[in-house]
């Protein structure tokens, strides 16, 4: 059959507008909370809007993905449409790559250019006159303006939790691939076993990451407001952690679908897309481990 003949155009759908409204309430509510936080007011309406928006978003995600799963299970999708999905997911991951690239770019600029300039080295070393006592180190613990930006006692040791996390995440990528191979071979029992292992590894990673933040805040005084090292550290690891969490939710959904008997050996795009996402998150972690923790 020529796959061009029946490209599936969905019926009019309420989900996009529900999503736009949900996002508006979520961000609007968050904006109100932050707006009033600056003024020292506890904003009840902001919290209500935020919770309402978040609830709408959860409703939207379950409803929209539910609708798509139903359409997919009723074989409405042509081969051409599944190519569209694949390309769409690939370009989405590319946009995520660029999002992280921006933060890695910031890290590069700060470490290689602006912090040495502040300490009097390099082409723009004139900046040294701002804080004549400042010396450049990395990780930067003594900030130029130490009254505004606190001084942490130290940084996270890469060879403890981060190393364990690296091993966890890399192994989870391997077990996920093994699950994928099992799916292609039609061995349903093996898939379930590997999925459980993958999920355990993923959730353990998130848990360890949280414990690492607690250690940073409570024992090292390494907080968001302790200068540029902490800023880049928390933003890079924080966004990565958020992505791991999203990946865990995606893989949990895939696990539930596998339990329900979804997916066939040659048609399991949702599983593949989640796996791509997981591998992407894994690669970002390897870069993080090297550039943020080790060097």
């Amino acid at each position: 059959m020529d796959s061009h003949e029946h490209y599936y155009i969905p019926e009019p759908s309420k989900w996009p507008i529900v999503c736009a409204v949900g996002l508006f309430f979520t961000l609007g509510g968050l904006g109100m909370i932050l707006f009033n936080m600056t003024a020292g007011i506890d904003d009840l309406w902001g919290q209500i809007f935020f919770m309402l928006g978040a609830a709408i978003m959860v409703y939207m995600f379950t409803g929209w993905f539910g609708a798509v799963i139903e359409e997919s299970m009723s074989n409405l999708y042509s081969d051409q449409l599944s190519v569209s999905f694949r390309k769409g997911m690939s370009w989405f991951i590319f946009s995520e790559v660029m999002f992280f690239a921006a933060f890695f770019g910031v890290l590069f600029y700060v470490r290689v250019l602006s912090v040495p300039w502040l300490a009097g080295e390099g082409d723009k070393g004139m900046a040294h006159m701002l804080w004549p006592d400042f010396t450049a180190t990395w990780p930067l613990l003594n900030n130029p303006n130490s009254e505004q930006f606190g001084t942490p006692k130290g940084v996270i040791d890469p060879w403890h939790i981060p190393l364990i996390n690296t091993i966890l995440l890399v192994s989870s990528s391997v077990t996920l691939t093994l699950a994928h191979h099992a799916l292609k071979a039609g061995k349903r029992g093996v898939i379930k076993a590997y999925m459980v292992i993958t999920l355990l590894l993923g959730f353990t990673f998130v848990g360890l990451q949280i414990s690492e933040y607690i250690e940073a805040y409570q024992q090292l005084d390494l907080t968001l407001s302790t200068g540029i090292y902490a800023s880049t550290f928390f933003l890079l690891t924080g966004f990565h952690g958020a992505h791991v969490t999203i990946g865990c939710i995606m893989l949990t959904t895939m696990f539930i679908r596998i339990l329900k008997g979804h997916f066939s050996a040659d048609d399991h795009f949702a599983f593949e897309a989640s796996a791509w996402y997981w591998h992407f998150v894994d690669v970002v972690w390897l870069l993080l481990f090297m550039l943020v923790y080790v060097f």
Binding site: E5, P10, L23
Partner: protein, 529 residues
């Protein structure tokens, strides 16, 4: 190209018309309806952003402070820029892409119709949030559309938080829209339509979509860092914590420079359709045009710091960004000569789309040439932040992006609506716009070279005459857009019936469809030879 396409649109499969009532628009999965919403939204934003420019020009009509407080003047300047860039120009191009891409490549619809509707509906909410900041305590964004830190962080009004979230929503909308466009072009082309047989508008949008996906996440990153600096005490743009305010500019312009090509490339595509049609010749050099677009897109990633020559960069950086910027003149020149060579010895007629396209070629070249002047780092020290810069980017954006949009609307309006517009009134719209915009923006070169700074509500007496001319031109240009609205309404209400091929030189799959174009463009793909 086959004519069987016209027979197939009444195939029983998928041949249901639009839904009734408001639901047709709220829940739409149809590329034409979503395209229409984008275009109408963009027109509304054009008038809102334009009225803010009116406030600015009214204040600058005479020296001294007459109408508005400087604080409010800053907000108008900022919102004018933001609304025109993110609300008027970009949605208009996405609207054109929605309407034209499936028709041009022989597809039934966009590849991901629900995502398409989501990308549209995020915009009204995002702009409600952004324009709402004007009514908050402390006023709206007042730091210019480039929102440099620390003006936009340490010294920003509290409403900046909502501005940041509005930018996040617009960015999400753009990324999703771009993913949809890129997937449509890569996966939905009719059998036989290879990349190098694609219409030029598709090519320009393919590259534009790539640029959008590459740089909108960077914009999201930079506003997120602002948010963190403002509310959570991070030090990205604060040298006291080891950060750097200049870092903001680097990240912003890494987004910002490809962004200006995002706003012009689709216009290049439109003009590459209109000029061959009314010259009754093929485009002079299709391949060179494609390669020029690709070259411009690649170069756009390595020129960003030419916006920052005066900010303090290592000397090697200044040289690098100066030379790469000047390289852009080469592919741009290829395009300009391409259009001129297409017209050379053609049997030309001058209907409104052609007038806009010729206006585009001439005036965009003026903007491009002042761009080369600005690219020279040593003299940019003098031009920086004067009205010369304002003249430059308005010459590339108004007769560039906006004239391209007008050309596209007049060119394809008969196909969209099935009705012809009033040629006389449309020509009047062109000529009044043309005169108005040159009166507005040409004298800005002179006051800029004489040293008048941008974004300041007052100026010395020596600039008074030119500023009065500029303001009068701006009012004329603004008023001429009312003619455009009248032409649109008149076309819809009482336009004469348009033929299937209203322009005898026009080529492309979209003209093989009946007029007005059917609700679902090509249920079965046409064969392309």
């Amino acid at each position: 190209m086959s004519t069987q396409a016209t027979d197939m649109v009444h195939d029983e499969h998928d041949d249901h018309g639009p839904a009734k009532g408001i639901g047709r628009w709220l829940f739409s999965t149809n590329h034409k309806d979503i395209g229409t919403m984008y275009l109408v939204f963009s027109l509304v934003m054009l008038f809102i952003g334009g009225s803010m420019a009116f406030v600015v020009r009214a204040e600058l009509f005479q020296p001294g402070l007459q109408l508005v407080e400087p604080e409010f003047f800053n907000q108008m300047i900022t919102m004018h820029g933001l609304i025109m860039v993110f609300g008027a120009v970009m949605p208009a191009f996405v609207g054109l892409a929605n309407w034209m891409l499936p028709m041009m490549i022989g597809a039934p619809d966009m590849a991901l119709p629900r995502l398409n509707n989501l990308s549209f509906w995020l915009l009204p909410f995002a702009f409600t949030m952004m324009i709402g900041t004007l009514f908050m305590d402390g006023g709206g964004p007042n730091f210019g559309w480039t929102f440099y830190a620390p003006l936009s962080t340490t010294y920003a009004p509290p409403s900046v938080t909502f501005f940041i979230f509005a930018i996040h929503m617009m960015g999400a909308s753009s990324i999703m829209g771009a993913i949809n466009v890129i997937v449509t072009i890569m996966n939905m082309r009719a059998p036989g339509m290879t990349y190098f047989k694609m219409p030029m508008f598709c090519w320009t949008w393919l590259i534009t979509a790539f640029l959008l996906i590459a740089v909108m996440p960077v914009l999201a990153g930079v506003v997120t860092m602002m948010l963190m600096d403002i509310h959570f005490g991070t030090a990205f743009f604060d040298a006291g914590g080891g950060g750097d305010p200049v870092l903001f500019q680097h990240v912003f312009w890494f987004f910002g420079h490809p962004e200006v090509y995002i706003m012009i490339l689709p216009s290049f595509g439109v003009v590459s359709h209109v000029i061959p049609a009314f010259s009754r010749k093929k485009l002079f050099g299709y391949n060179s045009m494609v390669y020029a677009i690709i070259a411009i897109a690649i170069l756009s990633f390595v020129v960003w710091a030419h916006h920052m020559f005066t900010v303090g960069m290592p000397f090697a950086g200044e040289l690098f960004f100066m030379y790469t910027t000047m390289l852009i003149a080469i592919p741009t020149g290829v395009k300009i000569f391409n259009w001129i060579s297409t017209m050379f010895r053609g049997s030309m007629t001058f209907e409104t789309p052609m007038l806009y396209s010729i206006g585009f070629v001439i005036l965009f070249t003026i903007g491009g040439l002042s761009g080369i002047m600005l690219a020279l780092a040593p003299v940019d020290m003098v031009y920086q932040d004067t009205y010369f810069v304002v003249a430059h980017f308005h010459y590339v954006l108004v007769p560039g992006a906006i004239f391209g949009i007008f050309a596209a609307v007049y060119f394809w309006l008969p196909k969209w609506t099935g009705k012809m517009y009033d040629e006389g009134l449309a020509k009047l719209h062109f000529w009044v716009s043309f005169i108005g915009l040159n009166l507005t923006f040409f004298p800005m070169h002179f006051v800029g070279l004489a040293g008048m700074p941008r974004r300041i509500p007052d100026y010395p007496l020596q600039f008074a005459d030119f500023n009065m001319v500029v303001s009068l031109g701006a009012f004329l240009f603004g008023a001429s857009q009312l003619i455009f609205v009248y032409v649109l309404i008149k076309t819809l209400r009482s336009g004469e019936k348009a033929e299937q091929l209203p322009w005898d030189g026009a080529e492309g799959l979209e003209w093989t469809l009946p007029t007005p174009a059917p609700y679902h463009s090509f249920p079965t793909p046409p064969k392309v030879d």
